[in-house]
Each structure stands twice: as structure tokens, then as C-alpha cells.
């Protein structure tokens, strides 16, 4: 039987291999046709969006910044803007909101709100679709007001991406008590989960951060207390002096690590006493951070304490102590040389030698470059 005869026979009976192949080919054809239709449709949509953006840029956009300063002009501008689809309004306003701060930003967000765009974001933030929720939260990070704090608190139990965005927005608009309510419920078993807390605290202004620190000692999670202390020491260092002795005496290793790190950002005598106390802590992680902080403080009087830490039984404590000594300049270098030449501890001699070699290498590279 020849091949062509086989195909026709299969087609006639509707069974067999050739019939199946033919069905696949036809299905593929339909799929290709659908793809082509979709491409044409998206190309037309993109072209229409471009045309509308272009028309908006020509007819409405030029008077925008001037209109913001005058109520009547703004009302007229909003009327013009409403003639365009919502997507065009968003494409125009969103980059301007993201690029600005201060009074101008407040006025642009006001225009955004009066166009009804913020209300739609609030509705979308409660949508069942996670894509819509993420999209809405991305906008609310910039346009949410204090009245949306409750919504943001609800969203802090959502997917990770939504949680991060809700945390940033809440840090910007929530009260210290509202932020605390979110922090109180948090459990952070892994370091990778700390990001929303950092994002929220970094978005807070100084005044609210000070109020939040009043609740530091009643914050249940030790990890959250550590993060709070580390953020606060950069933003409101004067306030942290009060919390350092408490943190250094905490039963939690996490909190003591936070205290040890924070001491590196301060220069006061009281913080020096705290970091020297943490340098003899029973936990090696705390001692390692204390050694690092002693180097950051650049206090020449710390050379002796660091020499002791360079002979510690823990590798990271020795490494951090040697690096901290190098940061102390000539005094530290001399201490490192003494350790290298006359320490009874093999590990301390190694750490000092490696650090001096690293230092010499950097000096050589620096001289070669200059």
C-alpha cells in the first residue's frame, strides 16, 4: 500500500496514525492563528496607548506644574485629564509622585486622589487576585495616607511581597502604636524574613521612631528588638544610650548582638563601657560583634582589649579583633606586630600575621596606584 493511499484511507475512516497527526497539525495551526491575533491585538493596544500618552503630553501635561499652585487652574486641569483613560492618567502622575518629595509631592498626590485613582488602589489592595493586590500596594507605598493605616495592617499578614510593601507604607503613614501592633505579632525565625521590618523602620520619621522606642522593652520578639536598636542607633543615636545597658544585660543573644553592633555607631564613654562588657560575653557571636564595634569606634585605648580578643577561642572573634586592630592605625599595627612575634597563642599569631599581610598588600597596591 502506498503512503498517499494510507492517509486518505485514515482520513476516510477517521482513525489511525495519520488522522492523529492531522488533528495535531490543525490544532497547531489554530494555536498559531490565536498567537498572531493576540500579537496584533497587543500591538494595537500599545499603539493606542502611545497615541493617548502623546495626546496627553501635548494637550494636558504642559500646564500641570503651574496648575498645582492654583485651585481653579487645578480644577480645570483635572477636568481635562478626566477625558483620558485612567491608565493614561496613572502613567503621567505615578513617575511624578515617585520623583518628588515635600510640598510638590503632596500636591501631586492630591491631584491623584481627586482623579479617584487612590480610592481604586484601596479597593484593589483587598482584591482576591494577588497580582492586583501587589500592583495596588506598589502605588499605595507612595500615595497612602494615615487613614489607610488599618488597611495596611490587614495586609501585613498577606504574601511576602505585599507584606514588604504594606510595611514600607505603614512606616511612612502609621502611628508608632500602629507600627508596634504589627511588630508585636511578628515572628522572624530566619534572617531573610527581616526585610519588611527594616523597610518599615527605615520609612519612619524621627519623631515616630522615638515614640516606638518607648515600646522597645515590651516588644516580644528579640529579633525585632535587635533590629529596632540597630535602626534607631543610626537615626536617633542620643536616644539609644538609654537602651544599651538594658540590651547588654538581656537574656537574649540576639538583643546582646544588637547592643554590641550599636556600640560601634556611638562614641560616648557609657557606650564604651557597654561594648567592653560585651567583649567578655559568654556567646562568641556577641564577642565578635563587640570586637568589630571596638574597631569602628577607632578608640586607641581599646588596643589592649582587642589584643585579648585576638587570642579568643572562636575564629570570628579573633578575625574581627585583628581587623579592628588594623583599623586603629599605628597603635593597632604595633599591637598586631607584638601579637605576631610574641603571643603564646598559635591562632592569635596567625590572625595577626594574616591581618598585617593584608594591610601591607593594601599599602603596596595603594602606592602602586598613586
Amino acid at each position: 500500500m502506498d503512503a498517499s493511499g494510507g492517509i486518505f484511507e485514515s482520513l476516510e475512516t477517521g482513525t489511525g496514525v495519520y488522522g492523529t497527526v492531522l488533528i495535531f497539525v490543525m490544532a497547531e495551526g489554530v494555536l498559531i492563528a490565536l498567537c498572531a491575533c493576540w500579537l496584533v491585538f497587543t500591538a494595537l493596544a500599545a499603539s493606542r496607548a502611545l497615541r493617548l500618552d502623546d495626546a496627553f503630553a501635548r494637550k494636558v501635561a504642559p500646564g500641570f506644574l503651574d496648575a498645582l499652585a492654583d485651585e481653579d487652574a487645578l480644577a480645570s486641569w483635572l477636568r481635562e485629564a478626566r477625558r483620558f483613560p485612567e491608565a493614561v492618567q496613572r502613567r503621567f502622575l505615578e513617575p511624578r509622585i515617585r520623583a518628588t518629595s515635600g510640598d510638590l509631592n503632596v500636591r501631586i498626590v492630591d491631584a491623584y486622589t481627586r482623579l479617584g485613582l487612590r480610592s481604586k488602589d484601596v479597593l484593589q489592595a483587598e482584591s482576591r487576585s494577588w497580582r492586583k493586590r501587589i500592583r495596588a500596594m506598589r502605588r499605595l507605598v507612595f500615595v497612602a495616607g494615615p487613614q489607610h493605616a488599618e488597611l495596611l495592617i490587614r495586609r501585613s499578614d498577606d504574601l511576602h511581597a505585599v507584606r514588604v510593601l504594606a510595611a514600607i507604607a505603614l512606616g511612612r503613614v502609621g502611628t508608632a502604636r500602629q507600627v508596634f501592633e504589627v511588630l508585636r505579632r511578628l515572628e522572624l525565625p530566619r534572617r531573610l524574613m527581616e526585610q519588611p521590618v527594616h523597610a518599615m523602620l527605615e520609612a519612619m520619621d524621627e519623631e515616630r521612631l522615638v515614640k516606638l522606642m518607648d515600646l522597645w522593652s515590651v516588644t516580644p520578639s528579640a529579633t525585632v528588638r535587635r533590629i529596632l536598636l540597630e535602626v534607631a542607633v543610626r537615626r536617633v543615636p542620643w536616644l539609644c544610650e538609654r537602651y544599651l545597658p538594658l540590651a547588654a544585660g538581656s537574656f537574649s543573644t540576639e538583643v546582646r548582638i544588637g547592643a554590641a553592633r550599636s556600640c560601634g555607631m556611638l562614641a560616648s564613654a557609657s557606650s564604651r563601657r557597654v561594648v567592653l562588657r560585651l567583649a567578655i560575653d559568654e556567646e562568641p557571636q556577641v564577642r565578635a560583634q563587640a570586637a568589630r564595634s571596638l574597631g569602628l569606634r577607632g578608640d586607641y585605648g581599646s588596643a589592649e582589649a582587642l589584643a585579648g580578643l585576638a587570642e579568643d577561642r572562636d575564629f570570628w572573634v579573633r578575625q574581627n579583633a585583628a581587623a579592628a586592630l588594623r583599623a586603629l592605625g599605628d597603635t593597632g599595627r604595633r599591637t598586631l606586630e607584638t601579637l605576631r612575634d610574641s603571643s603564646q597563642d598559635d591562632f592569635a599569631r596567625d590572625a595577626a600575621r594574616q591581618e598585617l599581610e593584608r594591610h601591607n598588600l593594601r599599602v603596596d597596591v595603594g602606592e602602586a596606584a598613586s
Binding site: 499652585a69 520623583a99 518629595s101 515635600g102 510638590l104 509631592n105 500636591r107
Partner: protein, 142 residues
């Protein structure tokens, strides 16, 4: 007179012959700065990439250059280095205005000789005020 938001007090009349170069990669920032600097009595040139900024710096004399760190072709740091290394350009004071608000970027800017550093998002009236402070007070007529 046009009503404006956040007008810099005493803006008009001071340093009226000053020239400012603004190089920003982001079109929204360019548009906003163009509007606000347009209200000042300065000659303002706005460009979108490092090469254009370089050409203008070579061709004209600017008192202040407001540079984005992440410019295409030549970065803000490249331009800053050129300005500091070239005696003909060294009178130009540089302010870096960037989205990269990391501490080390700011530190690097000042170490390389930037006169000021501002982060995006920015309040345009504040940027204008800071640039005004960088313009020499006894500006000779051009």
C-alpha cells in the same frame, strides 16, 4: 508673574548671570527641574546623558552642574572627576542628584570633590535653593 510652588526666597535678582548645567537621565526629573530652574534668572541648560553634558561643559562656562550619578555614556562620577582634574573646568561646582542614596555613594561624591549631594525623590524648591547657595555671589556679567 507665574504662581509657583515653593519659590526660592530672594531668587530673582541674585546671581542673574549665573549658568547652571543639569544632566539627568530621568525624563520626569528633567521636566520638573526645567520648570523650577526656568523660574530663576539663570541660564539653564538641561541634558539627558553624560556625553552631552561633557560637550556643554567644554563649550560653555557653568557655575554649577547638577549631575545624575547614573548617566548613560559618562557617569556623574566620571564627569565630576573630569571637572576636578581639568583646570579650565575646576571653577564649576558640582551637585550630585541621584536615586542612589547609599551612604557610600554620598561619601564617594564628597571625597571626589562634589560641593553638594541630594537624593531622589527630591523637593525641587530645595534643590534650587541649594544650587543658589553654590553660585558665587559676585557673579560678573557674562
Amino acid at each position: 508673574m507665574r504662581a509657583v510652588l515653593g519659590t526660592v526666597p530672594g531668587g530673582a535678582g541674585s546671581g542673574s548671570s549665573a549658568a547652571v548645567l543639569i544632566a539627568q537621565g530621568d525624563s520626569t526629573s528633567r521636566e520638573i527641574l526645567e520648570h523650577y530652574f526656568g523660574l530663576m534668572p539663570w541660564k539653564t541648560v538641561i541634558v539627558s546623558n553624560g556625553d552631552e553634558a561633557h560637550q556643554h561643559l567644554r563649550a560653555e562656562r557653568f557655575d554649577v552642574a547638577v549631575l545624575d550619578v547614573n548617566l548613560s555614556h559618562r557617569s556623574g562620577f566620571d564627569l565630576l572627576r573630569e571637572i576636578r582634574d581639568d583646570e579650565d573646568l575646576s571653577h564649576t561646582r558640582v551637585m550630585l542628584l541621584t536615586e542612589d542614596g547609599r551612604e557610600r555613594t554620598e561619601l564617594k561624591a564628597f571625597e571626589m570633590g562634589a560641593a553638594d549631594f541630594a537624593r531622589r525623590p527630591f523637593a525641587p524648591a530645595v534643590v534650587v535653593a541649594r544650587v543658589k547657595r553654590l553660585i558665587p555671589q559676585n557673579e560678573s556679567p557674562r
